[in-house]
């Protein structure tokens, strides 16, 4: 029996958390650029990660992440048994819901069964066969197959909801009101103003893992471009930006900037089902023709992290250095000549309007004899076309490359639930075998090797090409709160934001 046990050190501070000796503040106001809806687990908006991050302030998961990785949370320890098919969680004692009733293993088991019936967009429960409460503090989860990402991608993502509220709810999408936001989290729901995206949460004085750092946690809606102005004018205490210049302007004096790991990716997607991208040498010629460092520098102007052909970004735990396809136009021309590429052919690049990246790609590919026509469309149109494989080459910017590396299996071995495979499926038996093996591998060292081999195959096959990675910048007023930190691999399954609830709790 493979057994892994993790125990919570009673007094051990979490990596990045604020010390218990600090004095709670009155209110902190954070910002987000769209209204993310009512913050119940079934009502918040799934457009972007803003909704789910707010929800985590009210609701808790069995495990959580700090600056170093996964930590015990509602579960104080767990055992992985039966070759990874069974996980037994020992839950904390004395945890209470916001309405004062005790949290128990029955609630945890109920949460799994309820979310199996009513899907939660951020966790896949397909691997779960059953979840049962052995006693009030012991939860046993049986899996249909050993699923290595379970702790990270399911136990660390699925919110626990109270049985006494939700057992009577048959239509959770329309269930809203004070009962729908009862969780165990560090903050209690106060108010939400639809349209204005204004949220007010209040400190949960009975929180099990420390004292909330503020009596009130507020969120204000500010359009992305107005966030720095809002910070400057004192409307909010922090602003989120992807612009290098903006953070450079603010860094120093009353303000500080926290850079996230490069967990956002800008990549070229090749439709490997259609010529000429069905030819691997053509894809390699494209890679050699592009000066990815220069593209990144000219688009984001600083902090450029050149994309790895193995997709997983550098600076993250699962990254493995693979063939880099250095900028070599002569090599590109030789490869094109080798496959008899007709320079009269025009390739279509599907991209967002006004993306400077696509202009640079066109220019650099043109220099080696690949004519490119840029076709622009809004995000949803691009997604629809890519999903229908109605494209040759597409340019996409997105997050989702910082968490558990199982996303490589989903995107490139044809197991994607959403549209993110985009014609990129690799039909190689060794890749498929590795993808399945790592998904059930319980030994982290062996798994890292397998994931490294997958990156090597991806670099060899090049179904897509990571151009560069972007960081997010949290710009904050130092006097308001100075305890922000980066979550290892991103919050939950890889969200590259810094408003981890641990940063807003005193331990």
């Amino acid at each position: 029996m493979l057994s892994a046990a993790v125990a919570l050190g009673a007094c051990a501070p979490f990596a990045g958390s604020a010390p218990a000796s600090a004095t709670p503040g009155k209110r902190i106001t954070l910002s987000w650029w769209i209204d993310t809806g009512y913050p119940s687990p079934f009502s918040f908006s799934n457009v972007g990660p803003g909704g789910v991050v707010k929800e985590t302030m009210l609701f808790d998961t069995l495990v959580w992440k700090d600056g170093r990785g996964v930590i015990p949370w509602l579960a104080e320890s767990w055992n992985v048994q039966d070759g990874g098919r069974t996980i037994v969680f020992r839950l904390r004692a004395n945890v209470r819901w916001h309405d004062g009733r005790p949290f128990s293993a029955e609630d945890a088991a109920f949460s799994f069964s309820y979310f199996a019936k009513h899907p939660y967009g951020w966790a896949d429960l397909n691997s779960v066969a059953s979840a049962t409460a052995d006693d009030s503090r012991t939860l046993t989860v049986k899996l249909q197959w050993p699923f290595a990402p379970f702790i990270h991608d399911v136990a660390g993502v699925l919110p626990m909801i109270p049985t006494h509220v939700w057992s009577a709810v048959s239509d959770p999408l329309r269930f809203q009101g004070p009962d729908a936001v009862i969780g165990t989290g560090p903050y209690v729901f106060g108010s939400y103003t639809e349209g204005q995206g204004a949220y007010l949460f209040k400190a949960n004085d009975g929180f099990f893992a420390g004292r909330p750092a503020f009596r009130e946690l507020a969120y204000r809606l500010l359009p992305e471009a107005q966030q720095p102005l809002g910070l400057q004018n004192g409307v909010v205490d922090s602003a989120l930006s992807t612009a290098y210049e903006v953070q450079a302007h603010f860094n120093g004096g009353d303000y500080r900037v926290l850079k996230t790991a490069p967990l956002s990716i800008v990549r070229l997607l090749f439709n490997v089902n259609r010529p000429p991208f069905d030819n691997r040498d053509f894809r390699r010629a494209v890679a050699h023709a592009l000066d990815r460092a220069q593209i990144g520098q000219r688009v984001i102007h600083g902090d450029v992290v050149v994309g790895s052909p193995g997709v997983i970004p550098p600076e993250t735990p699962w990254y493995r250095a693979v063939s880099q396809y250095s900028y070599d136009p002569d090599r590109a021309k030789a490869l094109l000549s080798g496959i008899g590429y007709d320079p009269a052919t025009t390739i279509q690049l599907l991209a967002e309007p006004d993306a400077p990246d696509s202009q640079l790609v066109r220019s650099m590919l043109g220099a080696v004899g690949i004519k490119v026509q840029i076709v622009t469309a809004d995000p949803k149109t691009r997604t629809a076309r890519m999903k229908a494989l109605d494209f040759q080459m597409g340019l996409q910017k997105h997050i989702g490359v910082g968490g558990d590396p199982d996303f490589l299996r989903r995107w490139y071995a044809g197991k994607a639930f959403n549209a993110f495979e985009y014609g990129n499926v690799i039909h190689r038996a060794d890749f498929s075998a590795l993808a399945e093996r790592q998904a059930s591998e319980q030994d982290p060292v062996a798994r890292k090797t397998q994931v490294g081999q997958m990156q090597a195959i991806l670099a060899d096959e090049l179904p897509s090409l990571a151009l560069y990675h972007r960081r997010f910048y949290l710009i904050y007023r130092r006097a308001a709160w100075d305890r922000w930190f980066n979550t290892a691999g991103g919050i939950m399954s890889g969200i590259p934001l810094v408003d981890n609830k641990l940063a807003l709790v005193l331990h």
């Binding site: 209204d35 908006s45 972007g48 349209g195 995000p379 997050i399």
Partner: protein, 326 residues
């Protein structure tokens, strides 16, 4: 009667367009959720969950069935349920409508009053306000967002006296239009969006009023009025102004459509929680129930206001009253 039939046919066409247009956009609401073009790669929508949600929103049904459902819901006063906002569409619209009405009404009044007054004056004093005409022409040619950004820079950054985002100070008991002691806060938040919309609309009123005034001044009844010894002010207000205002009323009806388009841009720019911002977000997320309701209600509103403008013109223009109704 003929007019009523015409409006009825327009309503049927409007319904068809409102229903078809969102569905003609590439991508469906659930695909939009599952792969929002960038930030949503972490979402996991399994095929079973996808099918379950399609059935929940009735999107797994054939289009005629969906259309019938839309009609049935409308008859019951229910405009459906928003897929992206998880709220009844009726509530979303009722929450947002007052904010948009506030912007539209104030900007129309400002643009109409100042545009008409300046146009009347410029027409009356022909040749003396050419610079003003040129400036207004320039402003009128600028897109809404350029004017808005200019005002943000001027009154939000350089001389920071007005808030640049939102409709009220959050959590300060100014969350609705129950004004009370928060009137100043609401007015301050509405100032920049209203100014933007008014500035963009004003030149049209000014130019039309000036041209109409010039046209009226050459008429023989004006000469007759002056010959009767009426003061210039009375000639201007009771004779020239009253007749020159007729094309302005027509313009009001016509500008409403443009204004609603401008509201989408301006509300999005200023993070103002009105119907324009709702339309923008619904279009981005392909939220069919919200889009079809907004298109339909927006179209009905424009039709109704045009009908009102027709009636109003008839009321103040005796020549039209003499004609049989079209």
């Amino acid at each position: 009667m003929r007019s009523a039939i015409r409006y009825l046919l327009l309503l049927v066409a409007l319904f068809a367009i409102s229903f078809a247009l969102p569905r003609a956009l590439p991508g469906d609401p659930l695909a939009a959720l599952a792969s929002g073009g960038g930030q949503d790669a972490l979402l996991v929508l399994t095929p079973q969950a996808h099918q379950q949600l399609l059935a929940y929103y009735g999107l797994d049904q054939p289009l005629p069935h969906q259309a019938l459902r839309f009609i049935g819901e409308m008859i019951r006063g229910d405009l459906g349920y928003s897929i992206s906002a998880s709220q009844p569409v009726t509530r979303l619209i009722l929450d947002r409508l007052p904010w948009t009405l506030l912007l539209v009404a104030l900007s129309l009044v400002l643009a109409g009053v100042f545009g008409c007054a300046a146009g009347l004056l410029a027409g009356y004093r022909h040749g003396r306000y050419e610079r003003l005409s040129a400036v207004l022409l320039l402003v009128g040619s600028l897109p809404d967002f350029v004017v808005g950004i200019g005002l943000i820079l001027l009154l939000g950054v350089l001389v920071p006296i007005l808030p640049t985002s939102g409709a009220a100070t959050s959590f300060a008991d100014c969350g609705g239009l129950a004004i009370g002691g928060c009137a100043a806060d609401l007015a301050a938040h509405a100032a920049l969006p209203v100014l933007t919309l008014a500035l963009v609309q004003l030149p049209a009123f000014f130019l039309l009023m000036r041209a109409a005034t010039l046209g009226e001044l050459g008429q023989s009844y004006i000469t007759a009025a002056r010959a009767r010894g009426l003061t210039e002010r009375r000639v201007a207000t009771r004779h020239v102004g009253r007749n020159a205002i007729l094309p302005i009323i027509t313009l009001l009806g016509l500008r409403l459509g443009t204004l609603l388009g401008g509201v989408v841009v301006v509300e999005t720019l200023f993070g103002y929680p009105g119907l324009g911002e709702l339309t923008y977000q619904a279009a981005l997320s392909r939220d069919f129930p919200v889009l079809q309701a907004l298109f339909l209600l927006g179209g009905v509103a424009i039709l109704a206001l045009n009908a009102l403008a027709d009636l109003w013109r008839r009321r103040i223009d005796p020549r039209l009253r003499a004609e049989p109704a079209a």
